[in-house]
């Protein structure tokens, strides 16, 4: 490990409370905990040996330097009583989950995982698991966070994480690419991913001819069924029969090619729809941009949320004045567009694009209901943008206006929010085919609610008075 490239050794001398990461219980040999806002990993005896191997492997230094593996250094144990074998990791600005990623993010996370598998195998090491949750993001840059997953490759050992790679990466990508099925509800519905048997049932006869389906889906499902009752110590038998690293390398290499060629069919045809994404005349749009820019300049924000971000026009404006922006929209194509744009522009790690339906956001779930956290529990915003959003919340999703404003106030965030009036063509389109039961949807009621929970600092009419935009700060 190149110590000169590392931050100074962490001192654990004072005693702020230790907070275990509830999603890190599986690996007894390398559990994560937090202390004083910093991220640590406690290594067991075996994991400590693995860490020494990893630390001295040349690929690790290179991957850490370019961010493919999260920056990691050895903490110095002192009177903190934490004992030896503690690593400290750079903190990921906002944790996200595969069921919130657009297709391109899951695909790039899969390719990163395969890349690291190849690198590790070159150093006679391997990743012992293939959890998609081990990839996190600095903006549009993926980083692998679970250094305790690297272990030495025993001679003749197969790739134990192969099945998990299929369930959490390959099958979800295939679902979207081959069937046009949104993979996110599947991953959210089962944290361990899509099983081979379920995947096989989703494949038609024609799908068997698509790349990778026959072997990775049909054959895997058949063999899993055949050997569900066990087949003795298969690992030992494979080793005795002459299984070796070259076979894993070939599988990893072929999987890399397969994943790289996957793309969602709709993306190719409807991409151009996203080039123009608003209902404003240019001059009016510029006024809105200026208002948002002026409000965002009010101060430096640690974390900003852009709710209903579309393709991220305003996320980028706010990113100039915030350490980190989480840009969310329920429309995965818009979020995909944002991700690809940020990636192409060499995103400095400032905007995290996520597919989130605000009316049904990611819940607390998994073991004890704490393994995967709900949205607001992963970091509360200091500034929140709700532009061209509120009519979708109140009219499309039938959420009472007062409830939505109260929810925003509960986040403790400042707000840039746009009220879209009843005479706006977007609202009229929403009301055209439904009973108008929205007695609460009026600008006066909205303004009263806003003033009750926030301090309104600035406001301005847009679109000839059909919309009005507000900048309001959190009331302490």
């Amino acid at each position: 490990m190149n110590e000169t490239a590392s931050p100074p050794p962490a001192e654990l001398g004072h005693h702020p409370p230790i907070e275990p990461e509830p999603g890190s219980y599986r690996d007894r040999n390398g559990s994560v905990f937090y202390r004083d806002g910093r991220v640590f990993r406690r290594l067991g005896a075996r994991a400590r040996e693995n860490w020494k191997l990893l630390r001295d492997a040349s690929f690790f230094g290179a991957c850490r330097a370019d961010g493919r593996i999260v920056d990691t250094w050895e903490a110095t144990p002192s009177e903190g009583g934490l004992g030896p074998g503690i690593l400290e990791h750079a903190r990921v600005p906002f944790v996200s989950y595969p069921y919130e990623w657009p297709f391109g993010m899951l695909k790039d996370a899969a390719l990163l995982h395969l890349d690291l598998m190849g690198q590790a195998l070159g150093a006679d090491m391997i990743l012992k698991d293939s959890s998609a949750y081990n990839v996190q993001w600095f903006g549009a840059r993926p980083t692998f966070i679970d250094v305790a997953s690297f272990e030495p490759l025993e001679p003749g050992e197969p790739w134990v994480g192969y099945r998990q790679f299929c369930e959490l990466f390959l099958y979800p990508l295939m679902l979207q690419a081959y069937k046009g099925i949104d993979f996110r509800p599947w991953l959210r519905g089962r944290l361990d991913g899509v099983e081979a048997d379920q995947m096989r049932r989703l494949m038609s006869a024609r799908d068997l001819l698509r790349p990778g389906v026959l072997l990775h889906v049909a054959a895997q499902s058949a063999l899993q069924r055949r050997y569900s009752a066990g087949a003795g110590n298969v690992r030992a038998k494979l080793a005795r029969a002459g299984f070796d690293k070259s076979m894993i390398l070939r599988n990893v290499d072929k999987l890399g090619g397969l994943v790289a060629r996957l793309s969602p069919p709709r993306m190719r045809t409807q991409w151009s729809d996203y080039d123009r994404t608003h209902s404003y005349e240019e001059a009016e749009f510029r006024r809105k941009v200026e208002f948002v820019g002026e409000a965002a300049r009010h101060r430096r924000w640690k974390l900003a949320w852009d709710l209903g971000c579309n393709t991220g026009t305003f996320s980028r404006i706010v990113a100039d004045h915030a350490d980190y922006v989480v840009a969310m929209d329920g429309d995965w194509m818009a979020v995909e567009h944002l991700y690809q744009q940020q990636k192409a522009a060499g995103d400095p790690g400032s905007i995290l694009p996520l597919v989130v339906d605000l009316c049904d956001p990611s819940p607390n779930q998994g073991w004890l209901g704490t393994e995967r956290k709900g949205l607001a529990e992963r970091g509360r915003p200091e500034l929140t943008l709700c532009l061209a959003l509120i009519h979708h919340i109140v009219i499309s999703a039938n959420i009472p206006l007062a409830d939505f404003v109260r929810w925003l106030a509960g986040l403790g965030t400042s707000l840039i929010i746009e009220f879209v009036g009843r005479d706006d063509e977007m609202v009229q389109a929403l009301l055209a085919n439904r009973e108008d039961q929205y007695d609460d949807y009026h600008p006066e009621i909205f303004e009263d609610l806003l003033a009750t929970h926030f301090d309104i600092k600035d406001e301005q009419d847009l679109k000839g008075g059909r919309r009005r935009i507000y900048f309001a700060t959190a009331r302490s």
């Binding site: 099945r163 063999l223 050997y227 066990g230 087949a231 003795g232 298969v234």
Partner: protein, 89 residues
Amino acid sequence: MHVNLRSLPFPVFLSGLFLGMSATGAHAYLDGGTGSMILQLLLGGMAGLAIAGKLYWYRLLALLGVKSKTDAAEAQARNTPQGRARVDR
């Protein structure tokens, strides 16, 4: 049109090919990763296929009574928790 894959010859062929890996089906423990590990022979290119062929050949010899099923007892002895797949997160 959806087709029940069980009716397709390919998985059946594969299952037959890998019968040689299992000396007995009597083990009671569940290891969902077993089939996925065996599949890695097919995904391992020519070298993997050669091993699969070798294992199939032993299975054929056992069927013909040329080779006894000592693998079964051996496998049982090795059937320890440490021998199972570790899939941590």
